[in-house]
């Protein structure tokens, strides 16, 4: 099952992998960007509405027979990365190679042929199945698309696939419609449809998250059985670290389009390095009431991908952030607003008239102005904010506060955007881990 970090896997210089055999899927420097349409005015004046970097420079190599987990919150780019493996999300930059062949170089037609070998299992089985198709039609449709004309031949294959996913006796299901089946049965149908073309890679996008707790284990077991029987390679996309721990050989933690930590499952769980990985682990509720731990959760939520934070994307939520993590104007706004949730209404009104609107802080800048009643009162205000949360990591990022105009300008230290680097048995993108020189 899970591979050991150092001993069993031969080392390799290939980024994001610990494998020796030639990879079945090889993703290099992949970026998938989506252009935003913007408002009518912006389009009229030809203003750039910006892009969302759904996947931003990802390297990932899958060894045959491996189970790789892509774990992260919504907006982390894990689903887009999964879809791009099937050519369903066009690569902006970089390459995706399947058995050495670049997907970008393929015509539509050959891309479709290629999809026989990489198939997908979707999150919501009710949405993934056509309600007007019987199970036989739905599962056999993939074969029809790939050119199997004879209905009789298709039927033989459909029966075999349904039996493999445990839907037997098959006769009970062939003529049924999705609405006649339970959630777990529908997901089995979706899996049958995915394996019927004889794929070697299966991308499973949250295959169990819409199912009941009592059913999840069954579907995971089915996927493990299929992997053994059919020699499949899995990409398992999930936000649930607990199932990933059980299911995956290797795990890539994603945040805002990047892989922030990747390594063998055992190592990731035994020694989580990236503060985001640690936060995800702490967030899993433990069903054992005797094991409840005090939680120290990161504040806030996944930021807007169209305007990601400067420096490291995770720094606004990170409790371990240092001076060089990319502090900026928006972080100042967050801390001031948090301060105001702890003030009485009168204090809030008074302070608000001192510093005015904070909307100008929404533009990401490495320095920010504050105050409209003079530098002294602005400094006093900042001191009050600071005295209330002196340990907030943002203060580490403040380089200097100088008088400017009717208030002060807060200058932050220059931030760095950490790249993935080796640390122990894993790779991690965080400044807390100095880059090891390649041996």
């Amino acid at each position: 099952m899970p591979t050991k970090p150092d001993s069993t896997m031969p080392d390799s210089t290939m980024p994001g992998s610990g494998l020796g055999a030639s990879p079945i899927v090889d993703v290099r420097d992949l970026s998938v960007h989506f252009g935003l349409r913007g408002g009518t005015l912006a389009r009229l004046f030809g203003r750039d509405a910006g892009v969302v970097k759904a996947v931003d420079g990802v390297n990932l190599a899958l060894a045959p027979g491996e189970v790789v987990g892509l774990v992260g919150e919504s907006g982390s780019g894990k689903s887009t990365l999964g879809r791009s493996l099937l050519g369903l999300a066009p690569a902006t930059e970089g390459s995706i190679k399947f058995r050495g062949q670049d997907l970008a170089s393929l015509s539509r037609r050959s891309l479709r042929d290629m999809r026989r070998h990489i198939q997908m299992v979707f999150q919501d089985p009710s949405a993934a199945l056509n309600p007007a198709m019987t199970i036989e039609e739905a599962v056999g449709d993939a074969l029809r698309v790939h050119g199997m004309r004879s209905a009789a031949e298709r039927r033989v294959k459909v029966i075999d696939a349904l039996e493999r996913v445990g839907l037997s006796p098959v006769e009970l299901f062939l003529e049924k419609y999705p609405r006649d089946l339970s959630g777990g049965q529908k997901q089995r149908v979706v899996i049958a449809r995915a394996i019927i073309t004889g794929p070697s890679v299966l991308v499973a996008d949250e295959p169990i998250s819409m199912l009941d707790m009592s059913v999840r284990a069954k579907i995971l077991q089915l996927m493990l059985d299929l992997k053994k029987d059919l020699g499949l390679t899995y990409v398992y996309i999930t936000h649930d670290l607990a199932s990933a721990k059980y299911f995956c050989d290797r795990i890539a933690i994603m945040y805002l389009g990047r892989i922030v930590e990747i390594g063998p499952t055992e190592e990731i769980f035994a020694n989580p390095r990236h503060p985001y990985t640690k936060a995800l682990l702490r967030a899993i509720p433990d069903p054992d009431p005797g094991r409840q731990l005090p939680r120290d959760l990161p504040r806030g939520e996944v930021p807007d991908a169209a305007q990601p934070p400067l420096g490291c994307s995770f720094h606004p939520r990170c409790s371990e952030a240092t001076d060089i993590c990319g502090w900026e104007s928006r972080d100042l706004r967050t801390i001031v607003e948090a301060h105001w949730t702890r003030r009485s209404p009168e204090e809030y009104e008074a302070e608000r008239s001192l510093v005015g609107d904070l909307d100008h802080l929404e533009r990401p800048e490495k320095s920010a102005t504050l105050g409209k009643e003079g530098a002294e009162s602005a400094r006093a205000f900042l001191d009050r904010v600071r005295s209330e949360a002196p340990d907030d990591p943002m203060w580490r990022g403040v380089d200097m506060i100088e008088d400017e105009g009717s208030g002060v300008r807060v200058r932050f230290h220059e931030g760095v955007d950490p790249a993935l680097r080796r640390s122990g048995g894993v790779e991690v993108a965080c400044v807390l881990y100095p880059e090891e020189s390649e041996a």
Binding site: R216, K218, L224, P289, T341
Partner: protein
């Protein structure tokens, strides 16, 4: 039916007492008995977790307590709140109770907030509706207070729902439910639509709720981890009935009902070393199995389980359970304890 239930000794009277509550929906196939004789008490400031698979009646029960059922649903039994039976009240009186005394938090906050109204309008409307005597300033102060407690800065008071993130919206919903300081809140899967870290934040908020307010909470969830984290007591629901209830630590460490045990075993946690699941799927509630409704899926079913309804009795360490394995022995007919020969469960019948 069963005798009235007295929970563990509590110095105060329960905030809410449900007695033999039933809810059923009429369909062309017959009545779906979604909730079928449920009784429980919730003490002031206490959080009761309600867990079970989908389709076992959790949400119907939550809504039934509030009197929020779709047309065509029928209900029976008693829900005592403040000396009055909510279920037998005139609709007008029940309406007055909702919001002020009985609050509700839903799963998807965006569908519960009006996209055309500012947050300020939501709060002002809610407060005015139930407290018409307040001045504009007082209303604003109460609203801002509620928001502040949920960590929403006053600068966002005039924003629209779409300007908030998912977690913020759920905080808004909680603030909106708390602003009238209700004595009892039903939270129906409040974290299911949220990201893991935000889910943990909301669980923490719900956890603080019982410490900082005297609000009692019925927390409906399918996640036993959340129950362990945020609840004082737990009620395990199966096919319209509460099959086991008691203190969380007690029930989870020493489950008496096989369903509770199997539900806990099938949960995938960080300490999972093997996959377990419950064979089969929950029954059709138009025609549930005779006897114990869990017997077709129960690994320890006995002959009596298929024929006779289990009796609701006290758990050995407090709380209630209904399972023939626990007793009462004297009610089990001759030969009733021999293992039940289970019909082979085809995977086909499974979920």
């Amino acid at each position: 039916m069963e005798p009235a239930i007295s929970m563990e000794a509590s110095s105060t009277d329960p905030v809410i007492s449900a007695r033999d509550v039933r809810v059923w929906y009429g369909t062309t196939r017959g009545a779906i008995r979604a909730v079928d004789g449920v009784s429980f008490d919730i003490a002031p400031g206490e959080t009761l977790g309600l867990v079970g698979e989908s389709g076992c009646g959790k949400s119907t029960l939550g809504r039934g307590l509030m009197g929020l059922l779709p047309p065509g649903a029928k209900r029976d039994g008693e829900v005592w709140f403040d000396g009055k039976d909510v279920l037998s009240m005139r609709p007008k009186d029940a309406y007055r109770l909702r919001g002020v005394e009985l609050g509700m938090i839903f799963q998807e906050p965006l569908t519960r907030l009006n996209p055309l109204l500012r947050i300020s309008d939501h709060f002002e409307e809610t407060i005015k509706q139930h407290d018409p005597g307040l001045s504009k300033d007082e209303i604003k102060q109460r609203a801002l207070d509620a928001l502040r407690q949920m960590g929403i800065p006053p600068t966002r008071y005039r924003s629209y729902p779409h300007e908030f993130s998912g977690g913020m919206r759920q905080r808004l919903m909680i603030a909106l439910a708390l602003v009238l300081k209700p004595a009892f809140i039903v939270a129906d899967e409040p974290t299911t639509a949220l990201d893991v870290l935000v889910e943990a934040q909301i669980v923490q908020i719900l956890n603080d709720l019982r410490r900082n307010f005297r609000t009692s909470l019925l927390l409906i969830t399918h996640n036993v981890g959340i129950v362990a984290e945020a609840c004082d007591r737990v009620a395990v629901m199966y096919a319209g009935r509460i099959v086991e209830q008691g203190r969380v630590a007690d029930v989870f460490e020493n489950p008496q009902h096989p369903y509770t045990r199997e539900l806990l075993r099938s949960t995938i946690s960080l300490r999972t070393t093997g996959l377990n699941f419950i064979p089969g799927s929950p029954p059709d509630l138009v025609d549930p199995p005779d006897g114990c409704r869990f017997h077709p899926r129960c690994p320890e079913a006995m002959a009596v389980c298929a024929t006779k309804n289990p009796i609701n009795i006290e758990r050995p360490t407090g709380g209630r359970v209904e399972c023939w394995l626990v007793g009462p022995q004297e009610e089990i007919p001759e030969g009733g304890t021999r293992p039940l020969k289970q019909e082979e469960l085809a995977v086909a019948d499974e979920a």
